[in-house]
């Protein structure tokens, strides 16, 4: 710590600064211990646990239906996909085949969740680099999706729409129409996003060449989602381990090779288009059928270990269930994308300025309850 550097007879000393747990750029209760030399970051050490609720321990005493509810509270911006992950694991263990209708609806809502999450991220990204107006533009479109969700499942954020064996209710009669309206609306809005922020020269100067992550490091750090794909590491779970109706749609995985903050930004904008196209392919072809298959009131998984990966808006979420054949899991582990993505922050932020750190952190798109679980 007391390392002193001397440049042209000027002594400079490094000092500590606390970023968080209450800081606008950490988006929640993340605390970063920064070691700084003037404005230059020397070390970033995350201090976690401010919102740890020990969901994994709670899961050990809960039934599988109850566990689904807890996953909403992890990555609250992709709550539907989290729910889906647990339901898929349970269905895989029970060897339960859910109806096609369920699969398609799950995928549509999952992709809408991704769009909503990326809209919020886009707004916050702009805010972090100082353009406050983007926040409201992002929220405008996210609000439309949330309204659609509210109509179908009664909740806007922690949706809880999935249950093991299907969906809690069938979709609202307006659902298809409203989603179609949204697709038309949003297609005109993504170019607006580009005009406001992507093409701005200051924004490009702020983000290009900042926080560069190489492909090898991305894999070694276990990065996933847009963070990894911006480094040219093709890792989309939807491509490699397709689940629900994702094997029925065609989409190209958003990939960039520069690995810098701007590449991560561009990947997410491309994902908005991809998700929109997935929804568009499925929305007209929702098969008729049951929205749920009956399961036992008390679900007991056969003895064994089950692992299910899904792609949330932030990356790869893994659910690892160890069952001994009782109604509770013996051990349940969530492999959360944010946790691994956070671990590489120190690696890519060192050497940059405070402003770079904020921009880099914005493109990691951290959701703290997802990391703290």
């Amino acid at each position: 710590m007391q390392e002193t550097t001397t440049i042209n007879n000027f002594k400079s000393e490094e000092y500590f600064i606390n970023m968080g747990p209450q800081h606008p750029a950490t988006h929640g209760v993340l605390r970063l211990l920064l070691t700084i030399d003037g404005e230059i970051i020397k070390k970033v050490e995350p201090d976690l646990g401010y919102i740890h609720r020990s969901i994994e321990k709670m899961c050990e005493r809960d039934s599988y239906q109850q566990i689904v509810h807890l996953t909403d509270r992890m990555d609250y911006l992709s709550s539907h996909i989290n729910n889906e992950a647990v339901c898929l694991t349970v269905e895989k263990a029970l060897e339960l085949e859910v109806p096609d209708r369920v699969k398609v609806i799950r995928t549509i809502i999952g992709e809408l969740t991704r769009i909503a999450s990326h809209c919020l991220w886009w707004g916050v990204m702009g805010m972090d680099v100082g353009a406050l107006t983007t926040y409201f533009y992002g929220f405008r479109d996210r609000e439309m999706i949330n309204d659609i969700f509210e109509e179908t499942c009664g909740a806007r954020l922690t949706m809880n729409y999935n249950v093991p064996g299907g969906l809690m209710w069938d979709i609202h009669p307006n659902f298809v129409n409203r989603v179609k309206k949204f697709i038309v609306h949003f297609k005109t809005k993504i170019p607006e996003f580009d005009r406001l922020l992507t093409e701005n020269i200051i924004f490009q100067k702020r983000t290009k060449g900042v926080g560069v992550l190489s492909k090898e490091d991305a894999i070694s750090f276990g990065a996933s989602g847009p963070v990894a794909r911006a480094s040219g590491y093709s890792c989309d779970v939807r491509k490699y381990h397709p689940y629900s109706a994702l094997d029925k749609v065609t989409f190209t995985e958003a990939l960039q090779t520069q690995g810098d903050t701007f590449a991560r930004y561009v990947v997410r904008i491309q994902e908005l288009w991809e998700s929109l196209s997935i929804v568009e392919q499925l929305i007209d072809n929702i098969p008729e059928g049951e929205h749920r298959v009956a399961t036992n009131a008390v679900i007991k998984l056969p003895k064994g270990e089950y692992y299910q990966k899904v792609e949330t808006a932030r990356g790869e979420l893994g659910v690892y269930v160890v069952s001994t054949g009782t109604k509770n899991p013996y051990r349940l582990k969530f492999r959360s994308p944010g946790f691994s993505n956070l671990s590489l922050l120190n690696h890519i932020a060192v050497g940059g300025k405070i402003g770079d750190l904020v921009a880099t952190m914005a493109t990691l798109d951290l959701v703290i309850p997802d990391i703290d679980r």
């Binding site: 406050l132 409201f136 533009y137 100067k205 300025k353």
Partner: protein, 336 residues
């Protein structure tokens, strides 16, 4: 009453009138900014207190006055309390020179422009003091950034105004306006004047620490920068000073480039009292321009900020002065 006493009394009365007018004007600017921001951001903005929310910022000011003053225990109390006054006084002082109309100008001294630049750069001392005395690392970083930024951009502000002084041949503001009766300076000096105007607006925005140059506050990086530890009325001083400074920059630009209270092509020359209206219209148009910057641009990084000044604006400015000198020498100015 002896003559000196009468003069002093006159000054005090004028000062009080100015203080009254501009505190209210500052609050109105805050209100305007909020409505403009809302307009940019698909919102309505404050519209409940008073007609269309006009009294909203009054209510906010009342709230701030009645708030408890908090501060850090280990702060340097004397400097901590002194800092906001430096900032607010320096910005109020500059107002005295602005020629709102032919008869509405408190001081018309012969070094007018020079005085304006000098006074408006005192404010940075307040910011540095505030950041240092708060005993908070974020405040200190903010204050240091402010020091670097103001010292750098002061050059561009000064040089771009100097370019225009070449045209007028006087630093006195009333004389500068007089010269513009033959066409606003931005027309008289045509190309170099337009360049000088653009440089002035960029540097002026930077000097008032407003986005995209708000490195000093940079809420997503430093919390609130130098005024993190200030609350209540002391915070309000910093806040108000920012808006008055914005007004001053716009007012200087109006005076130097757009003919102050002169109407375009002299269309209302017979009605001199309209001068103040013209002045305010021009100034608020420029204020709106600065708000437009703020609500559309992202923030620069601190090293990019310095690169912009030292590698681009300053060389452009120096060349521009030479060009302007040549134009004046060869009498290539446009005059009506």
């Amino acid at each position: 009453m002896p003559e000196t006493a009468a003069q002093i009394t006159e000054m005090i009365i004028i000062a009080i009138i100015y203080l009254g007018i501009f505190s209210v004007a500052g609050l109105f600017l805050v209100f305007m900014e909020r409505r403009v921001a809302a307009w940019f951001q698909l919102r309505i903005g404050p519209n409940r207190v008073g007609y269309q929310g006009l009294l909203q910022t009054m209510a906010d000011a009342l709230k701030l006055v009645s708030k408890e003053l908090t501060g850090t225990v280990k702060a340097d109390k004397f400097l901590y309390n002194l800092a906001p006054y430096f900032v607010i006084i320096s910005s109020l002082m500059a107002l005295g020179l602005i020629p709102f109309s032919k008869s509405f100008q408190a001081f018309d001294i012969n070094i007018g422009i020079f005085f304006l630049i000098a006074v408006s750069s005192i404010g940075v001392i307040g910011i540095l003091l505030g950041g240092w005395a708060s005993n908070n690392k974020y405040s200190l970083i903010g204050a240091m950034r402010s020091g670097v930024q103001t010292i750098s951009y002061e050059l561009s502000v000064g040089l771009s105004l100097l370019t225009m002084v070449l045209l007028t041949g006087s630093l006195q503001l009333s004389e500068m306006v007089e010269v513009q009766k033959h066409g606003w300076l931005i027309l008289q000096g045509h190309i170099p004047a337009v360049i000088a105007f653009m440089v002035f607006m960029i540097a002026g925005t930077a000097e008032t620490n407003r986005a995209p140059f708000d490195m000093v506050e940079a809420e997503s990086e430093l919390g609130a920068g130098f005024h993190t530890e200030y609350s209540g009325m002391k915070f309000a001083y910093f806040f108000l000073a920012e808006f008055i400074n914005m007004f001053i920059i716009a007012a200087i630009a109006t005076t130097v480039f757009f003919g102050a209270w002169l109407s375009p092509f002299g269309i209302t020359e017979s009605l001199p009292w309209l001068g103040i209206i013209w002045f305010l219209i021009k100034t608020f148009a420029l204020v709106f321009l600065m708000m437009w910057f703020r609500w559309t641009f992202p923030r620069l990084r601190v090293d990019q900020l310095l690169t912009l000044e030292w590698k681009y604006l300053l060389p452009i400015n120096l060349v521009n002065i030479v060009v302007m000198a040549l134009i004046v020498w060869q009498k290539l100015t446009i005059q009506f």
